[in-house]
Amino acid sequence: MRLRVEHLKRSFGDIKAVDDVSFSVAAGEIYGFVGPNGAGKTTTMRILATLDEPTAGDALLDGVSLVQQPEWARRTLGFMPDQLPTHRDMSVDDYLDFFARAYGLRAGHRRRVVADIEDFTNLAGIRHKLIHTLSKGMKQRVSLARALIHDPGVLILDEPAAGLDPRARVELRELLLVLAEQGKAVLISSHILTELSEICHGAVILEHGRMLRAGAIRDLLQDRTQHLVVRLRALGEVAELHREVLTIPGVETARLVGDGLEIEIEGGEEAAAEVLAHLIQAGHRVIEFQPRQGGLEEVFMNVTDGEVQ
């Protein structure tokens, strides 16, 4: 199952909450949806979950419009909102059973599905507990279990890791990887970029409702390789090395970090090799020349300006 978003726009009066966003997520892929607060992530996700309609553009599930066929889409996708609604006086089991009924699951099959989902999301031990007494992490699990109850092909998760402790985050990450292996297309928004870059196949970066970058993680990092940050250490006087480095073509900046330098090189790996050759030729005894592994976080910081709308 493939989710394709085409030139999606959503305005509230004069405010453009989402402005021409396009990307696609294929079956078995996890895509990160990142951006500062007010970037339009939740609005986009609500449109994809059929809870809102775009001003223009469309979102397609295997070629079928979510906007025109919302009833069909609801059977095909699972949505986990950023917070679980307050359900007083309701146990985990009753809550999941209710949604299983709401999706039209029948008697014996419904009971089996609820039990399986509770096992999968590690809720079996607390199935009789009332939801409003659960911790934030457990509530997030219940919310994920609800989104999975009808075995959707596409999962849309809005800030699933918000407020979770480190252990719960690791467990959530593992669950998502299993879901992707099962062939589900997963779109996940999160502020925790280091975690996203570990599990995501691709990412969509939004700011002020506009899409700044979208694509596979390796493609996004490819951009980064044109602008390398390298850790440099050599035997001898570091101040002299600092002066020397700044004279080499391709080196943009250099700053002292500990007993070495951090230099920015324009031109990618070719340019970095030239810089290293230049240093050795100049007689510097280089003992460390290591490009920094920045990942998604660095890409995000480079392309966004940090302002909120």
């Binding site: 609604p85 009753d94 029948r106 009808h150």
Partner: protein, 491 residues
């Protein structure tokens, strides 16, 4: 089918919202505590009453009416809980879900809005039934204390149940409205007033039944006509509030107008058929008069609400527009949108007026006498609605939101109705109400059609004004017709 499979089928057939809400009610504190309080109160009331009378005073053989007195106390408490407390409980829960993500989450399942509302209604009626079942043994016991018969007890309970259903539906409807805090407060107060009225009327009926006995009703001659009339009117009102509630919780991007207009059209047909029977078969005018008044006023309200609807179709609505040009014209009446709503209301008023002409012919009554004022009133409201619409869409949109156009129309009606007579009074203080001189100053008031001295002139003026307004709004209407086209196909 085996017993187990039959039970499973039944379990699947129950509305999921009913299952959820009843489970919540049972797990919560409200229902168990109210049931316990009820049982304690009933036991206490019966015990105290019997003890206060003393065994020597309770002579069950000599025309005693102790049962009647105890029944009065118990039924008052039961009705208070069923007609007042349970609807408030339903409204509070609905409001909480409307303001959070709860109801939105229902929409990402396959539950339709009508199932959501049916479920809300059903679950609260089950709570009412639980309450009734807790009271039934004690109410039945009053039969043994004399002064009341069992059919009357059950008839009173039926009255209470219907009143409770009406209260719950009204409460869910009001809680579904998404309005500002101030309006919410006003609506809550109006809702409380309505529940108090409903409680008073249902208790009044129950006490009248206690007084006269249910058998007295059936000994009257010709009970079926008024009974059928009451049932039809109550069903239409109940159905109307139900479809309106469903429309309120349906996503704004959908064609919310369709179920409401479908229901209203069917109700219009039923009521018109009833009035026709009364007119052509029985040769009476009573039902025709009520029918006309209700229908014209209803469509006047429709016109005021239609101008608040959107002008642009959503993608989802556009995808449902028929591709065939032949069907697209009639379909225009059944889609959400301000022009669609106005045209539908005008068509329905025109149909009503045409049928009214037939009724008048049969009854040998002048059109101006029976239908004229109502038609004139509708024409006035249409004119004001179009004036407000043109002002809002043309110049006032930065200050008046589209959803507030009805308020603008009401302000215009009040302003023109009150301002001109005030000027007239200042210029010609000797004028008296009802005379033609003063009447002319009232020409912009929709209610001038009801003035005896002035009705025909006012009606003609109103119809003329409506035509002028329609001509002024023609470019807006044409734009709306032109954009009523289906989505381009993918191919």
């Amino acid at each position: 089918m085996s017993g187990r499979r039959w039970m499973e089928w039944l379990d699947d057939a129950v509305n999921p919202i009913v299952v959820k809400e009843v489970r919540q009610a049972v797990h919560g504190r409200f229902l168990p505590s109210i049931l316990l309080a009820f049982l304690c109160f009933q036991l206490g009331t019966l015990g105290i009453y019997l003890m206060s009378k003393g065994t020597s005073d309770i002579n069950l053989l000599e025309g005693a009416s102790y049962g009647e007195e105890v029944f009065g106390i118990l039924i008052s408490l039961l009705f208070f809980a069923a007609v007042f407390c349970i609807p408030i409980y339903a409204a509070v829960r609905m409001q909480a879900e409307r303001s959070g993500h709860g109801l939105a989450l229902f929409y990402i399942s396959t539950l339709s809005p009508s199932r959501v509302i049916t479920g809300k209604l059903g679950s609260n009626l089950i709570v009412t039934l639980l309450l009734f079942s807790a009271c039934l043994p004690y109410l039945s016991f009053t039969y043994f204390l004399r002064g009341i018969d069992l059919p009357t007890v059950f008839a009173a309970l039926a009255v209470g149940f219907v009143a409770s259903a009406a209260g719950i539906l009204s409460a869910v409807f009001l809680a579904s409205l998404q309005v500002s805090k101030l309006l919410k407060l006003l609506i809550s107060l109006a809702g409380l007033g309505w529940l108090i009225t409903l409680l008073s009327v249902s208790l009044g009926l129950a006490f009248a039944l206690r007084q006269l006995g249910v058998a007295s009703y059936f000994t009257r001659s010709n009970i079926w006509g008024p009974t059928l009339f009451s049932v039809v009117i109550c069903s239409v009102l109940f159905g109307l509030v139900f479809v309106l509630t469903v429309a309120l919780v349906t996503p704004a991007t959908a064609n919310r107008a369709l179920p409401v207009r479908r229901f209203v059209t069917v109700a219009w047909l039923v009521l018109t058929a009833g009035a026709a029977v009364d007119c052509f078969v029985d040769g009476r005018q009573d039902l025709v008069t009520v029918w006309g008044l209700v229908i014209y006023w209803f469509f006047a309200v429709v016109m005021l609400s239609a101008i608040c609807a959107r002008d642009q179709m959503t993608q989802r609505v556009a995808s449902e527009v028929p591709r065939s040009q032949l069907f697209r014209g009639p379909a225009f009446l059944w889609f959400s949108g301000s022009a669609n709503g106005l045209v539908w209301a005008v068509v329905m008023v025109a149909l009503t007026a045409a049928i009214h002409l037939l009724f008048n012919h049969r009854l040998n009554v002048e059109f101006e006498e029976l239908a004229g004022p109502q038609l004139g009133f509708c024409a006035y409201i249409l004119s004001y609605a179009l004036l407000a619409l043109l002002l809002q869409r043309g110049w006032l949109s930065p200050w008046v939101r589209r959803s507030q156009t009805w308020v603008l129309a009401l302000i215009l009606i009040t302003l023109f109705s009150a301002l001109l007579p005030m000027i007239g009074f200042l210029l010609s203080p000797e004028s008296v109400a009802g005379s033609m001189t003063f009447g002319l100053w009232l020409i912009l008031s929709p209610f001038s059609v009801y003035s005896d001295a002035f009705d025909t002139f006012a009606m003609r003026f109103a119809l003329g004004w409506a035509v002028v307004m329609l001509v002024l709004a023609r470019s807006w209407f044409l734009a709306q017709f032109r954009q009523f086209v289906p989505m381009p196909s993918d191919g």
